[in-house]
């Protein structure tokens, strides 16, 4: 590596030169960070739309924003807790992967994915129980849109986790080989946070 005061040999246009050190390895982590930024802004955009409409409807006195809809929050709270626990198991897997402990890595990822599936089961149960009908009203439609976006991000997160888990199963564990799994867990953290924000805005504050 040259520094600012070293002599730089004159390069010749049109000629490649000889091999040297490899490029930096964290592309996947940085790329995931950018994807998270885009996803965060998408969720923020949708939630902003939701909140702006709620605000606008509040100007009209006597308007029932929820249109008589009740929200079964206990189940949704359990679902959120499940997701939060899955974050812990995901980080456990990354920690274990960094130490080269394959068994712990796979158990951690398996638990994460199972809890992810359990979350979807609980959310679908809640939505069915609510009998939330898309298009039945403004709140229902917006809730569908925002919830759907958050769930789509979680599905992408689970797919990403599954893919990187398979990679770990293929032997990609160890201190220098855990970055891809770490990137997937990074995305999962964001997906859980996005769901938590959606849940709070749409189902708690309403």
């Amino acid at each position: 590596m040259s520094d600012a005061t070293s002599t730089v040999e004159a390069p010749q246009p049109g000629r490649y030169s000889v091999p040297g050190p490899p490029p930096r390895p964290r592309s996947q982590l940085v790329g995931t960070g950018f994807a998270i930024a885009a996803g965060a802004m998408a969720v923020a955009g949708a939630l902003g739309h939701y909140m702006a409409r709620r605000h606008a409807s509040g100007i009209d006195p006597g308007h029932d924003w929820l249109a008589g809809q009740s929200v079964p929050n206990p189940q949704l709270v359990y679902a959120l807790i499940t997701l939060l626990v899955s974050v812990v198991t995901a980080h456990w897997a990354v920690w274990a992967s960094g130490r080269g402990e394959r068994g712990h890595t796979w158990v951690g990822m398996a638990l994460t994915l199972v809890m992810g599936l359990a979350f979807f089961n609980m959310v679908m149960f809640s939505l069915n129980r609510m009998e939330l009908e898309i298009g039945s009203g403004e709140w229902a439609t917006l809730a569908y849109a925002v919830t759907g976006l958050s769930l789509a991000i979680l599905i992408v997160g689970m797919f990403y986790l599954g893919l990187m888990t398979l990679r770990s199963l293929g032997g990609s564990v160890g201190r220098d080989r855990s970055t891809p799994l770490g990137a997937a867990v990074f995305f999962w953290d964001f997906a859980v946070l996005a769901w938590a924000a959606t849940w709070y805005v749409v189902y708690v504050v309403k």
Binding site: M1, S2, D3, A4, T5, S6, T7, V8, E9, A10, P11, Q12, P13, G14, R15, Y16, S17, V18, P19, G20, P21, P22, P23, R24, P25, R26, S27, V30, G31, F34, A35, A37, A38, G39, A40, M41, A42, V43, G45, A46, L47, G48, H49, Y50, M51, A52, H55, A56, I59, I134, G135, G137, E138, T141, L142, Y144, A145, V146, G148, L149
Partner: protein, 582 residues
């Protein structure tokens, strides 16, 4: 000279040299070329559509070219084609090609994702056109077509975001060892700024599209249905968001001006900071326009001052950068050129003049935007209200779009194509055709700007009436006088001239590159400063066996300075040179 091997990150399989190789390529050089070629075709389509709209607006009493059904669709298609079809993908394509070469990377990061970005963009653009043809799009009469338009728009956004992430990651993580961020070539930095800003701004529109799609397809039409779409997403096609899209133009300007000066700027951080400032102050348009629909009372009185702040920041960034480059050129006025083919201000070519024009037009656009936002703010704040419509609701906005998309965007694109054509295609473009297209695009953009701008100021001609968009073409009862017709016609003439200019660019590429009539280019035809000029023109397809070791973004300048008895990289050597007593 030492160098480094092409590593695994971003590596691509061997390229298929046959035509089929274009379909399954993951090589940044092919993907970049595909983006550039297709975006130029969209520029033609967008300009033709804009021409139809402007001719239609040349009559204040009704439609002349289009009809009540098609006007809104053609109007919105114009914006889609010029922004998502031309401006963003053109510079994305140039960045995908040039940035890896500039930072010493073997390929773009996530080569397959970059390929997916192109094909996703192309397919989405095709579906978008299909949706418009099927009477979809904002204001469209065919409900499924409107839904299809929203899906296609989401596809365009996701595809362009993917490409932007590839470029940003390449600049951040795949720079050659030793090339720190404060030594990155200006264009690579500008591409990083734009990519980052696209990620955080286009993400917002993705969320909005989800809501609009669900509302339009399933919901009670509480957002206005097909007529409510445009008011919620048109911030993407207006200033200050447009400033984000033209930040790469500033990178092109800096590249070419510094090569003409054969000198590095005295303060590199100022170079990076000013470009970052333009991108940063372009961000936030979504908040200003997005919230003014449902939440207008939340920001009552604030929206005006927010816009003033955004334009002021963008103007500070552009003028700061141009001042910095101008000062650098002045410092180098007596510096001898190493060889006769070197580009300089005294021997300008199409790239130099187009870059100068594009940079100036961005500054003008920022200044004009600041003036307009200031006037609107005075009205919003209740000072100087005379009952006039705010400028941002008049064709003043169309004028700004013309200045930034046709003027800065296309002129910047022309500069970039002429500058990097030797590296991209191995051929120089015709200078004669280049100057002709330069005059046509620059002159046409000014006329296309002047017409609607004057009409907005003096007649208050509406730009787009959200609630009843057809009123836009029947503005006789809304304007102050009948001058709007003539001024709209003037704008249309400007677009015709721009169209001729774009056609000349396409023709120039066909003749010089496709028909191989252009002069074969050597590795460094301009005496450039940045690393891509170390490579053959064009570099071979596929991953390079080995890449140059780079200690700065200006290795060729470093070499020149070393030849003059100076040591060190460009920026440091310049400082050393300044400190040597005469």
């Amino acid at each position: 000279m030492s160098g480094h091997a092409a590593g695994s990150a971003g590596a691509v399989p061997a390229e298929d040299p046959t035509a089929f190789g274009w379909l399954n390529t993951a090589d940044h050089k092919r993907i970049g070329r595909l983006f550039i070629a297709c975006s130029l075709l969209f520029a033609l389509a967008g300009a033709v559509a804009d021409l139809l709209v402007r001719f239609d607006l040349a009559s204040s009493s009704g439609h002349t070219v289009l009809n009540a059904d098609s006007f809104v669709q053609v109007f919105t298609f114009t914006r889609d084609a010029l922004v998502f079809g031309t401006l963003i993908p053109l510079f994305l394509g140039i960045a995908i090609y040039v940035v890896p070469l500039q930072v010493g990377a073997p390929n773009i990061a996530f080569g397959r994702a970059a390929a997916l970005s192109f094909w996703g963009w192309l397919v989405s653009a095709g579906v978008l056109v299909g949706a418009y043809i099927a009477n979809g799009g904002p204001g469209g009469g065919f409900s499924d077509g409107v839904d299809l338009h929203l899906l296609a728009l989401a596809g365009l956004v996701i595809s362009l975001l993917t490409g932007a992430i590839c470029v940003a990651v390449t600049t951040l993580t795949m720079r050659a060892p030793g090339m720190y961020m404060d030594r990155t070539p200006p264009f690579a930095w500008s591409a990083l700024v734009t990519a980052s800003m696209l990620v955080v701004s286009l993400g917002v529109v993705l969320g909005q599209i989800v809501v609009l799609y669900i509302e339009h397809r399933y919901g009670p039409r509480f957002l206005g249905g097909n007529y409510g779409i445009w008011s919620r997403i048109d911030w993407m096609y207006r200033t200050p968001q447009l400033f984000i899209y033209v930040v790469p133009v500033l990178g092109v300007v800096a590249e070419i001006m510094l090569a003409a000066a054969r000198r590095w700027v005295f303060e590199p951080l100022a170079l990076y900071f000013t470009m970052g400032l333009v991108g940063l102050f372009g961000f936030g348009a979504w908040a200003n326009f997005g919230i003014t629909n449902e939440g207008a009372d939340i920001v009552d009185g604030l929206e005006g001052i927010v816009l003033v702040g955004l334009y002021a920041g963008a103007l500070a960034g552009v003028s700061g950068l141009l001042a910095l480059l101008g000062f650098t050129l002045w410092l180098s006025r007596n510096r001898p050129r190493p060889r006769s083919g070197a580009v300089s201000l005294t021997r300008p070519n199409t790239a130099v003049v187009a870059a100068f024009g594009a940079g100036t037009l961005i500054a003008v656009a920022a200044l004009v935007g600041l003036i307009g936002a200031g006037v609107d703010w005075l009205q919003i704040a209740g000072r100087g209200t005379d009952g006039n419509a705010p400028l941002r609701f008049t064709t003043w906005i169309t004028g700004q779009q013309s200045l930034l998309v046709y003027g800065a965007g296309l002129l910047g694109g022309l500069a970039a194509l002429h500058w990097w054509a030797p590296k991209i295609w191995g051929r120089r473009l015709s200078e004669l055709a280049g100057f002709a297209s330069l005059l046509a695009i620059g002159g046409g953009a000014l006329v296309a700007w002047l017409g609607p701008t004057l009409s907005g100021v003096f007649t208050e001609q509406p730009q787009f009436v959200y609630g009843a968009p057809l009123l836009t073409t029947r503005y006789a009862s809304q304007v102050d006088d009948s001058g709007a017709e003539g001024l709209s016609a003037l704008g249309a003439v400007g677009v015709v001239i721009v169209l001729v200019g774009v056609a000349l660019v396409v023709l120039n590429l066909l003749v010089s590159v496709a028909m191989r009539k252009g002069a074969a280019a050597e590795a460094d035809p301009w005496d450039g400063l940045t690393p891509e000029w170390l490579l053959p023109s064009p570099p071979p397809l596929g991953p390079a066996a080995a890449l140059p070791e780079l200690a700065s973004g200006t290795p060729l300048l470093d070499a020149e300075l070393n030849g003059n008895g100076l040591n060190g990289t460009g920026a440091a050597a310049e400082r050393d040179a300044e400190e040597v007593p005469a």
